[in-house]
Every structure is written in structure tokens, then in C-alpha cells.
Amino acid sequence: MRLRRWAIILPLLCAFLVSCSPNSNDRPGRKHTITIAGSTSVMPFTEKLAEHFVVDHKNFIIDVQGGGSTAGIQAVINNTVDLGMSSRELKEGEKTLNTITICHDGIVVVVHPENPVTEMGLDQVRQIFSGRISNWSQLGWKDRKIDAVSREEGSGTRSAFEDLVMKGKEINDATMVQDSNGSVKEVVATDPYAIGYISMGLVDKKVKPVAIDGVSPSIKTIKSGRYKIVRPFLYITNGELEPKARQFVDYILSKEGQTILKNEGLVGFYD
């Protein structure tokens, strides 16, 4: 009785497992899998690009994973992925790897639209987030505490902000923390005394971008190099790229790929 039941279940199980295995070559043409891992800031854009890419390249599977810039770079060193994603420059000891810049992303300091402050120096932004400037009167507005909003520890935007703005100074413990670009924007949009920093792609009428050292953030000022709070989105490779992965990278650097990135609010090479 029992044996007969197993006699039915086992073959079914085997059939199920076989049908699940990726090596079943029942579809025409062999699939090429490109594995990409790294920065969670670059990940959504890579996913978007992969989505568009596979429409015209049906025999590709692009596997995109997060993990953070450092984990991505480590994976490239260990040759466990084809491409690594990074939202920071390579550090000493990683310099043997090749980098491909796919685009740039500006980080914009934003305030509430009612806030009359339109410009501040980079050092003033640093002092606000390190707690040395804590009142709007120090910036020529009314006598009211500044509600600074930062991102959580581990976020790529936060680490880029730490590198580009804080320059070794620590973000004050009393600073509020939100867990996404969107929530930072929401806080700044509702609190007239708030100040925060978000990715340039997300700036809209609900918040007001602040000019830094007299330069207002825009695609133009980023391209000319005058706006300084900019981070590159990099792909990292170990040695020469394998031809199939090359095809994907070429697509990203093509006009079509760059237009997709531009529509997402990033600064590409063609505009």
C-alpha cells in the first residue's frame, strides 16, 4: 500500500524537479545569463535597463542582485559575477579593476518651498548636518530650529553625502533619519523648517533645491562640473569583459540606454 503510493509520488517529483532545472534546452536557442550585483542605488536603474534590453535580445537572462557597492566589488574580485555595480569610486586596493561610468547622479540639498533661503555654501551644509549650525537665523531667516533630515546608515545616498559633503565630519545624532529618498522628500515637503538631501531625479515642485556655493543643481551644471555634489554610477569588471556582457554594457552606453537613464532623472552622456 505504502509502496504503491511512493511509486506514484517519486516519478512526479522527479518530473517536477527536471522541469524546474535551468538546463532544460527545450526552448530554441541557448540563453546567456549575465549576473550583476552591487550598489542598491544603481540596482533599480540596472533592472530598468535590463527590462528594455531583453525585449530585443530574447536569448539573454540578466540576473540583477543588490548587496551594496562593497559587496559588488568583492564579488567582481572573486569572479562570481560578470559585472559589479558601484555608486562610489574605487578605493586603494581595488584600483586594479576596470570601471565603466554609466551615468552620474546629483545629490540635491532641498528645503520647503516657503523657505526663503535659496543658497548656501558647502561648508554651511556640512555644519548644518554636523550640528554646528542649528538655527535658521544663522542663515538669515527667522529664529527657529533647523529640522535636518538624513538617510539611514548603510544607504548609498548617505555614504555619497558623507564623502562629498561631510568630508570626515560626522552627521549629528540629533538629525532625523528616514529610510528612503521618498520619505525624506515627504518630510521636507510638509515641514517648513526642514532640510534634507535626495537624488536629483526625485526633485519636483513639492521641495525647493538649494544652490550650493552659487551653483544651482541641474543637468547642465553637473555636466560642466560646476555642481560638486555628484556621484558616478559605475560598472566594475575584472579584466576584459566577456563579449555577451559587453553587448549589455554597449546597450547602456548607446543613445537608447542613455535616454532611459535620462528619463529616470540621471545625467547621461547625450543631453
Binding site: 529640522d147 540629533a174 533619519v177 529610510d179
Partner: protein
């Protein structure tokens, strides 16, 4: 024939036992995994540096969660200050004053309150409470007082239902005896009923505390999540639960272990609270 019936009975019994034990198994597995992931960091960094450390910067090697432990307790106490008087009054009204019709209306309404998802509380808090606090009391609005207000409402159903049960279970003879001595209704409630239901009422407060300390979604949205211990009720703060949920997405390596350690501390606190509510207080009833 009889054999088959006996077999069926036994079969059903063992199936039920298996399912009943599986819930225990889940508890055990959760324990095991949190401890397995959380304890290594305690050994590596030291219990003192985690529990009494003031600085949380996990990517730079600091794992102090002392401010969060304090903040968790502050919001919990704040929630009790707001929720306990309201909840107890409601329970007294329900058990002593309200008529049958009122009870039939109020009880389901309270169950409905218990069923509202916490993200909805958080959303309402951000949209209404936070701006109110900012405009009338000052500060950014993301603060200890906003969080306590919202949590205070969230723990109401727990406090009301458990202290209501405690009040109702006070024997009728107590009330009659008190009335026979010439006490008024309020005197009876104040001097006889509440003291005899005391342990149940305390248990309801402590279970409410457990609910408040474990709440996450609403807290992240309203508390502001600053790492400092709040200096006033208008300052933002970060709780233990908030810390885990906030940083989970990007955490790798020691950072991730640090979040599990936060989970270990949280679990121990909730275990202590439940222990007090279940054993410390109920044993007193038995005496």
C-alpha cells in the same frame, strides 16, 4: 468496525497534537535563529558596548543601542500615560455603567479599533498629529509626544478588553455587600471593585506596554528616528524596532548582525514583560 472508529479517533487526535506542537516549534525556531544570528556580535563587540554603548554607527564599528533602549521605554511609558487612563475609564464604564445596548455597540467598535493596521495609524499620525504638534507645540512634529499619542490610541483595545474582563469577574456579592454598607456606586467602584481587580488591570497595562514596545511601522513614520536620547517631549527618537526595520534593506556583514543583536535585546525585554503579566500578576490572583 469499532476498530476503524478507534483508529479514526486516534488519527484525529495525533493530527491535532502535531499541529498544536508545530506552533511551539515555530516559536522555538524563531528563538534559535535570532540567537544564532544575534549572539556572535555580543561575543565579538562585548555585551557592555552594545547594551550600554551610546554610539550607533554599524558601518564604522559602533553598535551601541542604549539610546534606543531608553527611547523604546520612553514611548512606551508615554503611550501608557495616554492610553491607561482612557482605557481603564472605558473598561469601568463598560462593566459598571453602560446598559446592554451601549455594550452591544461599544464592544464591536473596540474590536474594529484593534483591527486597524498600524500603517494606517502611522499615516494618520504623519498627516494630522505631526503638523498639529509642529504648529502648536513647536519642534519638527516628529517627536516623542506624537509617537506616544498614536501608540496610546493603539494600545487602547488591549487595555480595555483585559481590564474589562478583570472588572467583570469581580463577584457580585462584593458589589452587593458594599451597597448594603451604604456605599454609593462610585465608592463601590473606587474602594471595592478596582482593588479586587487590581492584578488584572495591571496585567492589561503591561500587555499594552508589550504592544507599544513591539510596534514598528507607525513608529518609524512618526518618531523621526534620530539616534540621540530625546531631551524633551518634542525631540525625535529611534526605538529598537524602528532601528531594525529602518536599516534592514542595506545591511550586510556586521551591520546585519548588529540588527539581529537589537532583535535579541527586544526579545528579552518583551519576554520579561510577558513573564510579569502572566506569572507575576496572575499568581497573585490565585492567592
Amino acid at each position: 468496525m469499532i476498530d476503524r472508529t478507534v483508529f479514526k479517533e486516534r488519527f484525529v487526535k495525533w493530527v491535532l497534537v502535531a499541529f498544536a506542537l508545530s506552533s511551539l516549534l515555530f516559536l522555538f525556531l524563531i528563538f534559535l535563529f535570532i540567537l544564532a544570528e544575534g549572539l556572535p556580535l555580543f561575543l565579538k563587540v562585548g555585551v557592555k558596548n552594545i547594551i550600554f554603548g551610546f554610539k550607533w554607527a554599524p558601518t564604522k564599528g559602533y553598535f551601541g543601542i542604549f539610546p534606543m533602549i531608553i527611547s523604546s521605554f520612553l514611548v512606551t511609558i508615554g503611550a501608557l500615560v495616554i492610553g491607561a487612563p482612557m482605557g481603564l475609564s472605558c473598561a469601568i464604564y463598560l462593566s459598571e455603567y453602560s446598559g446592554k445596548k451601549m455594550k452591544m455597540f461599544l464592544k464591536p467598535a473596540l474590536e474594529l479599533l484593534a483591527g486597524i493596521p498600524s500603517v494606517v495609524f502611522g499615516f494618520l499620525g504623519v498627516i494630522y498629529i505631526v503638523p498639529l504638534v509642529r504648529n502648536y507645540l513647536g519642534g519638527s512634529g516628529f517627536s516623542l509626544i506624537s509617537t506616544s499619542l498614536v501608540l496610546g490610541v493603539m494600545i487602547l483595545p488591549t487595555i480595555i478588553s483585559i481590564s474589562f474582563d478583570a472588572l467583570v469577574s469581580v463577584p457580585k456579592t462584593y458589589r452587593e455587600g458594599s451597597a448594603a454598607m451604604g456605599a454609593t456606586k462610585w465608592q463601590t467602584i473606587y474602594k471595592v471593585i478596582i482593588p479586587s481587580a487590581k492584578s488584572g488591570i495591571l496585567a492589561s497595562f503591561i500587555l499594552g506596554m508589550g504592544r507599544a514596545i513591539g510596534e514598528t511601522m507607525a513608529v518609524i513614520m512618526i518618531a523621526g528616528n534620530a539616534l540621540k536620547i530625546p531631551g524633551s517631549i518634542l525631540d525625535p527618537l529611534r526605538t529598537l524596532t524602528g532601528n531594525i526595520a529602518l536599516e534592514l534593506a542595506y545591511a550586510t556583514g556586521d551591520h546585519r548582525l548588529g540588527l539581529f543583536s537589537t532583535g535579541v535585546v527586544l526579545m528579552v525585554i518583551i519576554m520579561i514583560l510577558n513573564y510579569i503579566a502572566n506569572f507575576g500578576i496572575k499568581r497573585k490572583i490565585a492567592k
